[in-house]
Each structure stands twice: as C-alpha cells, then as structure tokens.
C-alpha cells in the first residue's frame, strides 16, 4: 500500500511541475484535457478496486499457518455446504459488481472517445501535413493557394485556440505522431493517410516524439509544437513564406558558396538559392529553428559544426552524408546557416 501512495505522490509531483515537458497528465489542449480527465477517473476508481481486492487477499493471511507437517487426512477437503453457499454469493456479487464497474468504464471511455474525435470539427481549422522520414518530420502547411503552402521541418507552429488538422503520411516505415500534452498518438503508415485534430489552449512549446519503433534513430525523432497567439503565428507564417534572405556579409556569402558546392544541395532545399534537394529537411529558415537533427541537439553554432563534421557520432545511422569540409570552410558554412532566420 505504501508503494501506491508513493507512486501517487510522484504522479502528483509530476503533474504539477511538468512545465513544457511531454506529459500525459499535463494537458494543454481540449483533446488532451478530456483524456486526462478520463485518466484520473479510471485511475481513482481502479486504485480503489485494487485496494479492496488486496485487502481481501491480505486478510486471508490472518488464517493460521498449518505448517508442513501432515495432519491426519480429513474426509472432506472443503468447508461446510453452508459456507460454500455463502462464498458463492460473495463471489457472484463481486463478479456482478465487476461487470457493472466495467460497464461504467466502457461508457465513459467511449463517451470520451466520441467527444475527443468531435472536438476538431470547426470550420476555421488549419491543415498541416506531417510526413515521417527516417528520422525527421517534414511539416507542410496546406493551403488551396499554392503560394501559401509552406514547407518546414521538425517544428509545427500553431495558433492558440484554433483546431488544427494534422494529416499524417510516411515516406518509408511506420512512425507515430505523438505530442502528449495535446493529444494521443496517430500512426504514420506508408500508403495511407491518417488524420488527427489537435488544439492548444495556451501558448507554449510542446515536445513530441516518434512513438512507433522506426529503426536506428527512433530515439532521436523529436518534434516541437509551438503554440502562439494568432497574431504572432500569422506574422511568423508570413515571414516563413519568404525565401531565404541573401547573405549580407562576405563570410556568409562564402558560406553559401560552400553549401552550394557541396553534396548538401542534393538533399536540402533553401528557397531563393539553387539548392533544391528534397531528401532532407528544408533549410530555408534554419537559423530560426530550435534544434538540429530532428531536435537531437539545440541549435547552436557549436552543435551545428559538430553535426556537419561528424553526423554519425551525434546520431549514429542517420541519413545525413558525412562530407569533407575544410576547416576554413566550416565557420562560414555555420554562419551562413545560422543567418537563415
């Protein structure tokens, strides 16, 4: 019993101090909120049942221990008929009670499921397509106007208070999209499109992670959902639609040349330059991202340098080519990429 209460305490602590860490019991949106409410309902009810069942089990320990010595055999190895009848009643009662409780749980569960799935059906929704790749996320903001379609990676910006439809696709193996503070999982399955509605109540950065084993770097396939007030989101979006600014200093100009003359261009796209590869994340506004290598590392010049020089040590098995960059070329390349705000 003590263990249970310790666990409870731990749960309470984690629910209060979780902040922006990914957590099921720290909801930041209506979907996650409903599920968290259902969770606590299940939790308390089942804890109560567990305690009752354990109490009965522990009670049997109070019966006298007969020891290993064999006593003379009795004729009947069962209690009196009266006792059996009594037991039968109790067990039947407990079973009926179990059925009733499970029925209640079923009703609540299905009800919550229905409510959650209907939450997104408003008409001011935003549609974002998330495509899974080994081991990063491509994020595409859908729009019927092609000039308003934005391609980004490993970060999703959403406006607070607006439902967002996430369309999920995969280019290689099965991944799973999961931002626990906002909603449960949805798998990304090759040859299929799955969908999920999410919505954030309050501004913040919510961490998500691939939840279906997808190979060597399953552990480092991280995604941030950045919820901002509508106006701030709009401003960000308009800025993100712009092509990359031309490098303004000699050193970043040199960096651009390094980028364009290396294998980088076969996989990465920087709008506004000739780099148009589609195999890796779009780097048009790389400098404004929070992390590199699908948020394996925070986006700092030092980390970026390490990542370019030796990606296989940072994230072994990932698909970024290890290229030979001269020591005098490295700093300009870093500066250039970091300047892509």
């Amino acid at each position: 019993m003590q263990k249970r209460s310790l666990a409870l305490a731990a749960l309470l602590i984690l629910s209060s101090c979780a902040g922006h860490q990914q957590s099921v019991v720290d909801p930041a949106g209506p979907q996650a909120d409903r599920i968290a409410a259902l969770w606590w309902f299940f939790f308390w009810l089942l804890v109560a049942i567990f305690i009752i069942v354990m109490a009965f089990a522990v009670w049997t320990l109070t019966r006298p221990n007969r020891g290993l010595e064999q006593e003379p055999l009795e004729a009947r190895h069962r209690p009196s008929e009266q006792k059996e009848t009594q037991l039968r009643r109790i067990v039947t009662g407990a079973t009926v009670l179990t059925i009733i409780i499970l029925f209640v749980l079923l009703v609540f569960s299905v009800g919550t499921g229905k409510a959650v799935s209907e939450l997104g059906n408003k008409n001011n929704g935003l549609a974002i397509e998330v495509t899974g790749n080994q081991w990063w996320w491509q994020v595409q903001y859908l729009n019927s106007d092609p000039s308003q379609v934005l391609v980004d990676a490993n970060e999703i910006h959403i406006p607070v208070g607006r439902p967002v439809l996430i369309r999920l696709r995969s280019n290689d193996v099965i991944h799973s999209f999961w931002v626990p503070n906002l909603h449960g999982k949805r798998d990304l399955i090759p040859s299929r499109v799955t969908t999920e509605w999410i919505e954030a109540d309050k501004p913040g950065v919510y961490r998500g992670q691939c939840a279906e084993f997808c190979g060597l770097q399953h552990a480092h396939m991280i995604l941030y959902v950045i919820a901002e007030p509508e106006a701030k989101f709009k401003a960000w979006f308009q800025h993100a639609l712009q092509p990359a600014a031309a490098p303004s200093t000699p050193i970043t100009q040199r960096g651009q040349q390094v980028f364009l003359n290396n294998a980088c261009v076969y996989c990465h796209q920087i709008q506004g330059t000739t780099a148009s590869g589609q195999n890796g994340p779009n780097l048009t506004h790389f400098g404004s991202r929070r992390g590199i290598a699908a948020n394996t590392l925070p986006n700092t010049p030092g980390n970026l340098g390490g990542w370019i020089l030796d990606p296989q040590t940072v994230k072994p098995g990932n698909h970024m080519a290890t290229i030979a960059v001269n020591s005098q070329d490295l700093q300009p390349l870093i500066d250039y990429l970091e300047s892509l705000k």
Binding site: T60, A94, I99, Q134, I174, T194, R207, C210
Partner: protein, 634 residues
C-alpha cells in the same frame, strides 16, 4: 523403484510386473540413445531446462538494456546494438522461454495428472523438442554472428522488409518463429489428444484437474493462434527472400495487414503463456490450502471464455493506426471482458485461501505475489482497453510496465511457485523453504522496483524502444531506479538457481506426496519412473488422492511387456481399448535435422525448401516404416 504403497495401499506388489515395466520403459543407452528418448518426463525436463537457459539469456539482455537506460545520453550500447538486444530479449522471452517453459511443464505434468504412462504421440513429442532447440540455436547463431534481429519482436513491416532491414537479421527471426511454432503445434496436438483419449478411467470432464483444463485450453489456443504467426512470419520471409508482395503497398500488399495477422496471434499468445500459469496457481492453491479450489465450474468456464475472448481483441494493439469508431467501441468492450473472466478466477482463489487450511509455503508466497502483481497489471490492462487512454500510453513505458506486470506477475511468479511445488516430484527432494522465502521477497521487491516506475515514465511521455534520452526529458531518476530494481531482480534469479542446485543435492527427501496434494501425479514415485505408475490409477473423484486410501481404484490387465496404455472415451473416460506406444527411436531427431536443413537453408536459398522436403520425406518414411511384430496380440 518402490511401488507407491503409501498412496495406493491396495496395489498388489508384483515384482515381475515391475521388472517388466523397468525393462520395457528403459531409456536407450549411448549418445544415439540419448537422442532417441521419448518418455514425457525426459522431454518435458529438456524443455524446462532449455527454456530456463533462455530465460537467463533474456535476463542478461534485459540487464544490458537497463544498464544502457540507467543514465541519460548513455553510450554503453549504441543504437544498433540496443535494437538488437531489445528485439532478442522480447523474442527470447516470448518464443524461447515462456511458451516452451509452459509446454515443458505441460508435457511433464499432464500425463502424470491424467494417470497415464506417456503422451499420445511420444515420437512427435521428441520431434517437437528438437525443433524448438534447433529454432532457438538458429536465432542465437544469428545473435553471435552479429545478425540478431533489430526490428522489434513484432517486426512491423516495412521496417522488417527487404530494404529497411538489410542482411539476414529479420530472416533469422522469421524462420525461428517457424521452428518454434512447429514445435508448439506438435505439443498442442499431442496434449489435446492425450487429454481427450488417455485420461485415467472415470476421470470424466468434470473431474479433470484445473491445471489440465488450463493446458487443454492453451493447446487449443495454440492450434488456432500459431498458424497466424506462421503466416505473418512467412509474409516477411518470402517478401525478403523471393520478392513476394504480401506486405508491399507498392504492389497491392498492405503493411497493416501484417499487423492484423500478427496480433491475431500476438494477443492470444499472452494467454497461451499465462493460462497454464493460472493452472499452476489452482494446483498450488488447492494443495497448500488443503481444500479443493472453490468454484470448479466457474473456474473452468471462465478459462474457456478467456480462450475465446482472447481471439476477439487483437485490434487493441492497433488503436493508434486509426480505425472506425464502431470497431473501437467493440474492441474496447471485448478487451474489458477479459477483466470479468480473470476477476472471477481471482475471486475464487481468494475465496479458497480464505476458507482453506493454508500452509504458508514458498509456493503459496508466490501465489500471493502473483495476485498482487497480476491484479495491478489487470488494472492497467483495463486502462489500455480504453481507446483514448491507449492513444496516450500506447507504445510508451506504461505499456512496458503493463505487460511485464501481467507476464512476470501472471506467468513467472506462478512458474516460480510451480518450481517450488513440483520440484520434489521431479527430483525427489524438497527445495529449501528458507532460501525460497528469501528468493520470493527479493524477486518481489526487485520486480516492483524495476517495473513500477515505468508506469510513471510512460505517463511522462517516454516511448518504448528508445536507446537513449536527453537529460532535460526528466526521465533519468526513475530509469535509474528501474535499473537498480533490475539488478535486484537478477539477484533473486541467482538465489533461485542456487536453491535449485543446492536442493538437488542436499534438499530434504520428499517422498511421494510431500504436500498431501490431491492430484494423481503425487501417486507416482518421486521422481517418477519412466512408466509413471506400476498400476494406472482410476479417478474416483475430482481429488483422487483425497479419497480414503482403501477406496482408491487402479487398473490391471495392461500388458507390461510392451509400452501399453489405456485409451478411454472422450466424455466419461470409460476404458475403451488398449494402445501400444512405439519404442524409442532416432527418427524424430533425424527428421528434425532434415527439417532444420530445409528451414535454415531456405533463409539463404529458396531451393533448400525442396532439398529439406525430400530429406524430411525420407526421414518420415523411416519413422513410420512398419517393424515387427506386425500383428498385435491381445
């Protein structure tokens, strides 16, 4: 061998009969002879020992994983090695430890509990063991040549397909499945036939011990579940080796289909593992409370219901793939129903403990441990049945915690109890009770310390199967705690092993029935003779050894100069005819070698299917070729 005078005092002692039985049932000598054993005790013990070795292997893999996860950004194992190890751990525990261990106990105990001399098809039994051993060695051959599977034990496509798992790693895995499933299906077919046709006279259906019922249900589940996994693993294998398109979406195949087929097996698999364990619990509870298990009929019916429902809820492993809502409600409801049938059994055991005359032996300690852990695992199972909750905690450490609670709590704890309970039957000596209780407490504490924190980790968003995590995720302390728990668990395992080795040599001599238990295996000598009983007992009640000795009945008139057993009718177990079991034979072993050549070779070259089939055909003809005497004299 001393006849079992103390349990069957009215058995006539006829030295000639015993000498005949000893001669007819003697094991053949030499290495060739050792490979030809067909007695169920020998085969069952081989299963148990082999499965235990793989439990140790899986345990070492678990410790390696826990060591890697003890600290954030740990580099003890790289991603490649970690993926290999967690896949091998899951595969080993499911296919090479849990199922074969349960089958080993079944092969050992069922004929004894039914009061017969051997299983119905002793050679098939031997063949099944060799197939299991070959499959296990095949997988571990891969492990030691750096070709351990690395795509998770359920090998979702396309990750396990030809492009994303290069080399032979997934092929080793898929073919190992074929080996072990052939073995499991052999065991299932022969156990059902044994239970249906070789019960002690008058052991009608409502007198079958609960453990035998559990094995019967488990065997039927094997018959219907294992073909699914053979299909699933064949999808992978043929896609990888001969370029079929069963799961290739580009050519009309479907990766979700693989999941459906796999989980149609995968969910019943769990019940295949723990239903026999529930049988252990029933046997232990009744022997150690010295009272029949309360609610025999309810227990049997709920186990049968468990078996049926198990096939109707596989989709709850796939909620995150996005299914129609009506399907979700149905599968939630069916998943919750398991809680009813399991609940009934828990209530019945508690009722039995409550009104029995308990002896708090180590075996009973493990039953209490089982109840605590299994009920908690059941609670989290109820949570996972709910679609919205499952969407949140699916594929996280919460699920890892859940299935270790139900599988270790539901299967390994009863298994430990079963070792303490039947060790005296198998070796003739009791295991040490003091070390046993120590063993229990270390395991119980270690287990909860390892797996309880994982619930919280899951809620904090830690996905399963990640080889490392950043410090800022905040998962460090609980992971550290879990790792400490894992090592305590390992110490518990070591204590158990020490107790086994010590008790085998120095344990107290047990006698035939040290627990004063009720089922027929305790009427045989400890350890049992190759023929189990000098005179086959009849079952005059549901607890045949609790009727007064002078009322017990036994069978005479079976010929002792050949391996003869009694076949009884299906429902009432009335004697129907006698049946002569074949003598030991090397052919099952040779056939297993031939099949192994076919299976193992086909991973590299599909033509081996042909060569293997031809060799197997030759071996089977040898197996079934008639030998003298052709006519059986009455």
């Amino acid at each position: 061998m001393k006849p079992a005078q103390d349990v069957l005092p009215n058995v006539p002692t006829c030295e000639q009969d015993i000498a005949d039985l000893e001669r007819v049932w003697r094991h053949p000598r030499g290495i060739g002879g050792w490979l030809s054993y067909t007695t169920h005790q020998a085969i069952g013990m081989r299963y148990i020992v082999t499965a235990f070795v793989f439990l140790l292997a899986g345990g070492i893999e678990a410790l390696l994983m826990r060591t890697q996860l003890a600290l954030p950004n740990n580099t003890f194992l790289g991603p490649d090695r970690y993926n290999e190890i967690f896949t091998t751990h899951g595969t080993t525990m499911m296919f090479l430890f849990a199922v074969p261990m349960m089958e080993g106990f079944g092969i050992y105990l069922v004929p004894l509990m039914l009061g017969t001399r051997n299983v119905a098809f002793p050679r098939l039994n031997a063949f099944g063991y060799w197939m299991y051993l070959a499959g296990a060695l095949f997988l571990y051959w891969g492990v030691f040549t750096n070709a351990a599977p690395d795509m998770g034990w359920f090998a979702y496509t396309p990750l396990s397909g030809p492009q994303f798992t290069p080399g032979k790693r997934a092929d080793y895995w898929a073919q190992m499945i074929t080996f072990t499933e052939v073995s499991a299906m052999c065991v299932a077919a022969e156990l059902i036939a044994t239970i249906f046709k070789q019960r002690a006279p008058r052991m009608s259906l409502n007198r079958i011990p609960l453990y035998v019922w559990a094995m019967l249900i488990q065997s039927f589940m094997v018959l219907f579940a294992m073909p699914a996994v053979m299909i699933a693993s064949s999808f992978i294998l043929s896609d990888r080796t001969v370029a079929t398109h069963f799961v290739n979406p580009a050519e009309g195949g479907d990766p979700l289909l693989y999941q459906h087929v796999f989980w149609f097996f995968g969910h019943p698999e769990v019940y295949i593992i723990f239903i026999p364990a529930l049988g252990f619990v029933s046997a232990i509870v009744s022997a150690h409370t010295r009272r029949e298990v309360f609610g025999y009929t309810a227990m049997v019916l709920s186990q049968i219901a468990n078996g049926f429902i198990a096939f109707g809820l596989w989709v709850h492993h796939m909620f995150a793939t996005g299914l129609p809502q009506i399907g979700e409600a149905y599968f939630t409801a069916s998943s919750l129903m398991i809680a009813i049938t399991s609940g009934v059994q828990i209530f019945c055991w508690i009722a039995t403990l409550w009104t029995g005359r308990p002896r708090f032996t180590t075996a009973l300690h493990f039953v209490y441990g089982f109840i605590a852990i299994f009920v908690l695992g059941g609670m989290t199972g109820v949570m996972l049945a709910s679609v919205p909750l499952d969407l949140q905690v699916h594929d996280t450490f919460f699920v890892v915690a859940h299935f270790h609670y139900v599988l270790i709590g539901g299967a390994v704890f009863p298994l430990m109890g079963a070792f303490y309970h039947w060790f005296p039957k198998m070796t003739g000596r009791l295991m040490d009770e003091f070390i046993g209780k120590l063993n229990f407490w270390v395991l119980f504490i270690g287990f909860n310390l390892t797996f309880f924190p994982m619930h919280i980790l899951g809620l904090k968003g830690m996905p399963r199967r990640i080889y490392t995590y950043p410090p800022e995720a905040g998962w460090g302390p609980l992971n550290h705690l879990a790792t400490i728990g894992a090592f305590i668990l390992a110490i518990g395992g070591a204590i158990f092993l020490a107790n086994v080795f010590w008790s085998r040599k120095y344990g107290r001599i047990a006698g035939n029935n040290p627990w004063d238990a009720d089922s027929l295996e305790w009427a045989a000598a400890s350890p049992p003779a190759n023929y189990n009983f000098e005179y086959l007992p009849a079952a005059t009640s549901r607890s045949p050894l609790w009727v007064p000795p002078e009322d017990r009945t036994f069978v005479t008139g079976l010929r002792n100069d050949r391996r003869e057993v009694l076949v009884t009718t299906l429902m009432d177990a009335e004697p129907h005819h006698r049946y002569v079991l074949p003598p030991p034979s090397i052919w099952p072993f040779l056939t297993a070698v031939a099949v192994t050549i076919g299976f193992a070779g086909s991973v590299f070259n599909a033509w081996y299917v042909t060569w293997g089939s031809i060799l197997t055909g030759i071996c089977l003809i040898g197996w079934f070729w008639p030998r003298r005497p052709l006519e059986l004299e009455p």
